[in-house]
Symmetry: C2
Subunit: 228 residues, 2 copies
DNA sequence: GAATATTGATAGTAATACTATTATTTTTGC
DNA sequence: GCAAAAATAATAGTATTACTATCAATATTC
């Protein structure tokens, strides 16, 4: 799993941190506990001072790793999308049939996240929760164009692009592969949010998952049979 | 248009404001200029102090209308969704064919917003821009469950519900009408955002609109012909 | 064991997000 | 047209946030 780990590390833009949090135990603790604290109190209430108190460290020490909490969120999001991308590529790698390949990709991207023990200091289940609740806040900012120029969103963009290509491989005539791919990724986060907080606005529940909904949607849209 | 105006006023939960901004010229100015200022500097940089300076009024006076900027955003969002709901109901009212009715609803909900002169102090075009950029921030908060209990999201919920019913009217066997409806509403905002800031992640541009994409998606998903 | 890097502690600043009080202006009712 | 009431403005003040700067204490490494 070392190769995986490295490939994921590569995905994170160096401008997102001042000092690489993977390079020290304090850095890892900052990442590890920030995920838990953001989940507990929400991104708006989260501060470096509170995080410092929680990990018995100092506010000023955290500022030596991340410029501000916004950059930390972008870092966590890059890690998350890099991890998703890796799993998608890994899990679809050997599949030659384009329909089966797309189907598997959708499954990986929309299914409930389970813990991955390859990364000891990152709790993927909780990270997924904060991506559902907070990811939009990382790009819905006035500075988005400049930040995009800095490459802060490159991992997520590459994921959409890859998924779009898989859609094209299934149906070259379909006119909206990019829009469909971005709708699936964003829509998945949204359906999980609705399931948790607005169950009346979704058909997803304990039995019906976003994977069911989006797999069905893709197959109907691209005019395929469920069995490939 | 007075009836319309009233019906839209009714839609806004009274708990969202301390004093009804429609009841005075200062209140209207607060709403009018807050839309423009949030659009200009973004919700994070927007403060009541800055708004006060802009309208030659006082921070403390604005606090007499709205508890904080979060409630103001919820107010603006309720107004927006109330206005969309009204237009959707109005424009689909006489249509008896369910397919044509759904098609018209999608059109109203996904098309580019144009100014509505019935509401002099609200610039719908700019309001639509801030909904695209800021709406998610109104519900992606830790307090969402309590706020929902207070009825702050009722207008948007009713809209999803209505759209879902129109989907059911077209295809009773389709298993995910709520998820499809919520995906369309949320996805429309997202596609407009991508079109503006991440054109590589969407097929929408000057010629292809979110209306094209979502109309096509709905028709394929519900197995209909484009001509009804 | 000295030099260097890292972390911690403390202090300080400007801005934010308010609340409270009092003064001034506007509105309304008679 | 004037008094009473309501609305708005001005000012001040508090706690928190989002940092920056400085210096002391601790690890690390050469």
């Amino acid at each position: 799993m070392d190769v995986l780990m490295q490939s994921l590390k590569i995905g994170i833009n160096e401008k997102l941190y001042i000092k690489d949090p993977e390079s020290s135990s304090l850095g890892k603790k900052i990442v590890e506990e920030s995920i838990l604290l953001i989940d507990e109190i929400g991104f708006e209430h989260f501060t470096f001072k509170k995080l410092g108190a929680r990990i018995n460290s100092n506010e000023s020490s955290i500022y030596r790793y991340f410029e501000n909490k916004h950059k930390l969120l972008l870092y966590l999001a890059s890690w998350y999308w890099g991890w998703m991308e890796y799993r998608m590529v890994f899990d679809t790698n050997g599949i030659s049939d384009p329909v089966e390949k797309l189907s598997k990709a959708i499954e990986v991207l929309t299914q409930n996240v389970e813990e991955d023990n390859a990364f000891s200091h990152i709790n993927e289940v909780v990270l997924n929760k904060i991506i559902i609740n907070e990811y939009s806040k990382s790009y819905l900012v006035k500075e988005v164009n400049d930040e995009d120029k800095n490459g802060y969103f490159i991992v997520c963009k590459r994921l959409v692009s890859r998924l779009s290509e898989m859609i094209v491989a299934v149906d070259k005539t379909y006119a909206y592969p990019l829009s469909l791919a971005s709708t699936i990724l964003e829509g998945t986060l949204h359906q999980y949010f609705l399931k948790e907080h607005f169950p009346m606005l979704t058909n997803c529940n304990e039995n019906v998952t976003p994977t069911h909904f989006f797999t069905d949607l893709i197959f109907r849209t691209l005019n395929l049979n469920v069995n490939g």
